[in-house]
Symmetry: C2
Subunit: 358 residues, 2 copies
């Protein structure tokens, strides 16, 4: 007795609402959650009293009771001890935005958790599931999560043999092949690649696709690698690539800032784009629409990926999943701009061998 109305330390609890409405706790719970069998009169009465008291159910108590927190972890890759990746701001921002939006629409919220967080931080938040961006081979965090039975959906194919709930990814191989074909069609004779030294799946798949393409068309690979997390190293690598004796007449840069870096390097060597050098880079940034010249970009469609990842994850959380892991491939989008469009009318380059389409 003294408790329900006497303890006014914190916010109003469900007991206070029950007392004020003259009903039981059960009735309040049922009325507010739309459960049980109650006449509409009781329902509205309870709701009104709850509103009047400013009652908000305790998320912690509800989570404890139901086992569902409504929280989804968003694990971002880290370089050093800093979260996020340096080179893909626009990708991450777009992806996170879409994921946040999609989660919210289904009543979930996202918790940002860098992959390097120690276990105590992870265990300090009740997660219904986790989105992992670009999981590393045998990621210990990922293993731990799966071992604890928490649904995990990754952006990018998981490296090891970890039984993940599902993943969403682009077909990086097809994207690179199509892009290289596009450059060849525009007249490129020797296409170079600006790639990374990191071992993530995206870099690996893209690079091998490039090497395969080179082998198929009989071109010697021309590429430079640099640690993608170091923004300054990108400019240096771009410079190296264009300084080579076997300088390419077209370049594809795997990372977001490569476009401006390559453009600056080209300028430094007096190369005109696209006349002397064709340029494409993978980026979600809109600045490439207004550079001089505008640069052709490959978009990985982060918004579609972010949305798909969250949908799959929440389906799994709510038990709507199929038993087998859900794998979804999102098509990429090559936004063709001036930098990859040949200027001279037509140089007949024998098309290597059109496997698909013309």
């Amino acid at each position: 007795m003294g408790r329900s109305s006497g303890r006014r330390l914190g916010r109003a609890g469900i007991r206070d609402v029950a007392a004020a409405a003259g009903v039981s706790i059960t009735t309040v719970s049922d009325a507010l959650n739309g459960k049980g069998r109650l006449p509409d009169a009781t329902r509205s009465h309870v709701r009104e009293v709850a509103d009047r008291l400013g009652y908000r159910p305790s998320a912690a108590a509800r989570t404890l009771r139901t086992g569902k927190s409504g929280l989804i972890g968003l694990t971002v890759t880290t370089y050093g001890d800093e979260p996020f990746t340096f080179t893909e701001f626009a990708y991450f921002a777009e992806m996170a935005r879409a994921a946040t939006s999609a989660a919210l629409a289904r009543g979930y919220a996202l918790v940002i958790l860098p992959a390097t967080s120690r276990h105590d931080v992870w265990s300090n938040v009740a997660l219904d599931g986790t989105v992992v961006i670009d999981p590393a081979d045998g990621d210990p965090v990922l293993t731990e999560l799966v071992r604890h039975g928490i649904p995990v959906v990754s952006d990018g194919r998981p490296g090891g043999t970890i039984p993940v709930t599902g993943w969403v990814d682009n077909d990086h191989e097809a994207a690179v092949l199509g892009l290289l074909d596009h450059l060849a069609e525009a007249g490129a004779r020797r296409i170079g690649l600006l790639t990374g030294t990191t071992t993530d799946t995206y870099t690996r798949l893209s690079t091998t696709a490039y090497l395969n393409w080179c082998e198929r068309v009989g071109q010697d690979p021309v590429y430079e690698s640099y640690p993608a997390y170091d923004p300054r190293a990108g400019a240096v690598a771009a410079d190296r690539l264009l300084a080579r004796p076997d300088r390419p007449d077209a370049v594809y840069g795997l990372f977001d800032p490569n476009g401006t870096d390559l453009l600056a390097a080209a300028r430094r060597y007096g190369l005109r784009v696209p006349d002397d050098l064709l340029l494409v880079c993978c980026s979600e940034s809109t600045v490439y629409a207004t550079t001089e010249p505008p640069i052709t970009t490959l978009s990985l469609k982060p918004r579609r990926i972010g949305t798909a990842v969250v949908q799959i994850l929440i389906d799994a959380i709510e038990g709507l999943d199929s038993t087998c892991p859900v794998e979804q491939v999102i098509p990429t989008d090559l936004i063709v701009r001036t930098s990859s469009q040949r200027r001279s009318p037509r140089t007949t380059v024998s098309p290597p061998r059109g496997p698909a389409g013309d």
Copy 2:
């Protein structure tokens, strides 16, 4: 009896650890949390057993008991129904990164919550405090939070008279005045402004500072406004500004993409930068270091802001706060590049610096 070892439905609980270690629940709790008076032998024994069982304390139960969740909300402004702001990707990413890092270092995690979320989503997550980015005048969400006694620290001065826990902001007025002085010193006679139609504090303060400066030096204001959330409108507005009969010979753009937009517009009108037009824009993006020419930017130091906001908030949460609201002003940083230097003595192309620097 049957309960502790019989119920193997979920993860191991504190009871299981107590049973396996042959001690009481209290002892386990004390041993793992470093409380109570226990000999080191018991402590290490309990820890070992807990590790062996893979015990993770339930975050929900702990939150329910202690009233602390270790979660901090990160409220981002929304345009339409999409979270985040379109125009400030780099700022937001940097700020969020720093905030995440700072929070993590103190054992907290960040929850992304768009400002337009309805109340039920907010109440579904237990927050110890909230960071609000760029609060709007009389923001209902902000009011609600403060009314519920949740500590709130904002990035940017809060608009209304809401008794917020604290805020961190730049001195936008000083920044703009210094920047305009810099342009005037570089030889600008008529400085234009590319500003926004939104009513947020940043836009308002910067614009009035510009108008004040104009009045002080006796220059007619020359500015164009556009809805900052529409990326395409920026290019149009930049064009309008340079198409005016009273065309400025220097322009400051308030938003991130203004640099490339203005550069493109200048090119369109045959204006050379910086010879015919001096250019500065507010941006955290590194692309402006490698544009042609490199563009002078005003950095708002989002990393310092993000860190400061989180520190103030956590201090308040943990009761280390002073009673009065904490206000902290972060100095801005004008990164002078070619675009705002008149009569550059000679355009020496410097090779890119090595990654280690010197």
